[in-house]
């Protein structure tokens, strides 16, 4: 096993898929000559050239719509949103066209695209740049959504997303790009993690912490504190993929621990954790020894101030406090 950053692992996944299929093309703002606003695509333009790595104008509706149109003909565009927060200016293309075109054509068209970029708060950039829309897009049948928390998952999932024949919205995190983690060696073969498969990141017996994205990292830190300071053995389940969703893994963890705290950077109204909570109460009600609790962002637009932004978001302290209310 090697150690790579999340950014490097993603780049390796993109690079491998560019080699794997000539129809894969990367496009977005600053992805080519500038090497990517967050350097995820660094070096790829130099290696693959103008045809495969395409700088676009700041026209999210234009270039994402272009990618959708091209995908109907068989091109496999991987489009970077500099921030997923910019989804709002391309919403018609992302939803009305990408999610619906297969359905409205009675299955005659398909849309094998990936839209990727960071979707997170916590960087003091204010409400316009801090949206976490994974729950929003997972609510549209026709779309798939995933949100990796580790370098290995980032690589394995981006490869699966690119090979998938449906639109996959891939949500990364600027605060994870520099994080290091183990990634399987190249000689161990093609490393692909299927969509729809959760992973237990830490085994436990007393409570299930269920999360995705950076919240998984917070859960792992919280689990350590719970063990060391409170003698509570928490299990951490990383959803990795939001839609398709590994419902079996969620129910299995609940059946094991009988207590659940869901951790989700979304706002409390709706969102991924609201759906997971509904699934647990419907399918594992008798397994529960306590009400399902959630740690979400405090219900207001994302605040700018670095003095309190981390308190608005889920963090290990808030998770520990929430766990202690039901254990």
């Amino acid at each position: 096993m090697r150690t790579l950053t999340y950014r490097e692992a993603l780049r390796e996944g993109l690079d491998e898929e560019l080699a794997h299929d000539d129809n894969v093309v990367l496009m977005g703002e600053e992805v080519a000559e500038y090497n990517g606003a967050y350097k995820v695509t660094e070096g790829l333009w130099k290696k693959w050239g103008d045809k495969r790595i395409v700088d676009t104008p700041i026209s999210e509706a234009g270039f994402i719509g272009m990618g959708i149109g091209a995908s109907m003909l068989g091109v496999r565009p991987v489009m970077e949103l500099m921030f997923w927060s910019f989804h709002s200016v391309a919403f018609d293309q992302l939803v009305n066209n990408a999610a619906n075109v297969r359905y409205m054509s009675g299955g005659l068209c398909s849309c094998p695209i990936v839209v990727r970029g960071p979707a997170n708060g916590g960087t003091n950039v204010g409400a316009t740049h801090s949206h976490v829309p994974e729950g929003l897009f997972a609510a549209f049948p026709g779309l798939k959504v995933c949100s990796p928390a580790t370098p290995a998952d980032a690589k394995g999932l981006i490869k699966a997303a690119i090979r998938d024949n449906d639109p996959v919205y891939f949500m990364e995190n600027t605060l994870l790009y520099g994080m290091e983690g183990e990634v399987p060696d190249l000689e161990d073969g093609d490393f692909v993690i299927p969509l729809g498969k959760a992973e237990v990141k830490k085994e436990g017996t007393d409570i299930s912490l269920i999360a995705h994205g950076r919240s998984v990292i917070h859960c792992l830190e919280a689990a350590k504190i719970l063990q060391e300071e409170h003698g509570i053995n928490a299990e951490v389940l990383d959803l990795r993929s939001i839609r398709p969703l590994d419902v079996d893994a969620i129910l299995a963890s609940v059946a094991k621990t009988h207590r659940v705290v869901l951790v989700d950077e979304s706002k409390p109204f709706g969102g991924v954790s609201a759906m997971v909570s509904q699934l647990i109460q419907e399918h594992a009600f008798d397994e529960l020894d306590a009400p399902i609790k959630r740690v979400c962002a405090i219900d207001a637009p994302a605040i700018y101030s670095k003095h309190v932004e981390n308190e608005q978001l889920p963090n290990p302290k808030r998770i520990v406090e929430k766990v202690l209310t039901i254990v």
């Binding site: 270039f63 293309q93 005659l108 449906d166």
Partner: protein
Amino acid sequence: MSAFDFASSPINQSLTPERKIELYTQMVRIRRFEQASMKQYAADKMGGFLHLYIGQESVAVGTLSLCGEHDHNITAYRCHAHALASGMSMDECMAEMFGKQTGCSKGKGGSMHFFAPDKNFWGGHGIVAGQTPLGLGLAYGLKYLEREGCCLCFLGDGAVNQGAFHESLNIASLFGIPVVYVIENNGYSMGTSQERSSAFNGCLAQRAEAYAIEWDVVDGSDIYEVRAKANIAMERARKEHKPTVLEIDTYRYYGHSVADANHKVYRTPEDIQAYKDNHDPINVFRNKLLEEGVLNEELINKINAAAKEETAAAVKFAEDSPAPTIADISTDVYWETDNDTEASKIGHHFFS
């Protein structure tokens, strides 16, 4: 009438009498189809909206008559004519509007969402200008895949004020994309006249100058002019990978949709009658073909009767076809689940 006789342009000179009759027949078929649709809509056989193409037939038939096997097209919600002119059958189109399983989109799309990728027709799109980046993408795809051909992307005059269209024009010019944007200017952005909805110099197509794109204005009542000018734009796209914006002046007899009850308020009956007498593209072409000796009254009657018969058969086909089942609601959502792939078996794709 046009000052220039476009019948003499090479692309029209090359038309055989049989091909001219075919173009006339297509226009008549489209009109009969739309008239039947209107009747069936009034009889409550279909739901939703119905955007009729009556009066604009020369645009779809003229432009699409230039498409070869490598050329593609995509349009907005007023899509019936493009579908028929692309070679789709009346049966599958009428059945789609009736919401039947035998419809081109299995009853999942409706009047605004006809598709036939096998005939290079990519829909049928419901959101004003939402199809303009898709048309760009189809043409980008042709270039990326190193295929020949171009993409015709149709839009209404109301769509020129949407941001997505302007983003598309910028990228089309910047990247050298073989797309031809065809503005079907029927003068009304739903119920608001062009003067009250668009700021422009000269004409709407002239906005293309801001993006360094070639443009032209076309009298849509003359199918020869439509073909002559569209051919120049399509050749520019195919051979030079350069976009064009064509503005084809045309006229919509009826409302924005059948639900547009106000259409007689914002236009006078005299306006509509004057158009019918002097500019109706079918009347204009019929008169030309009579002059040319290509058509005669007997043939005209035969074409009309055949179109009526075909339309009546399509209505019967739609009427007799089965409706989709409840189970059909959940198919055609994901490619992977429709194809029962390994990926589709991992995790839940659907929720209740």
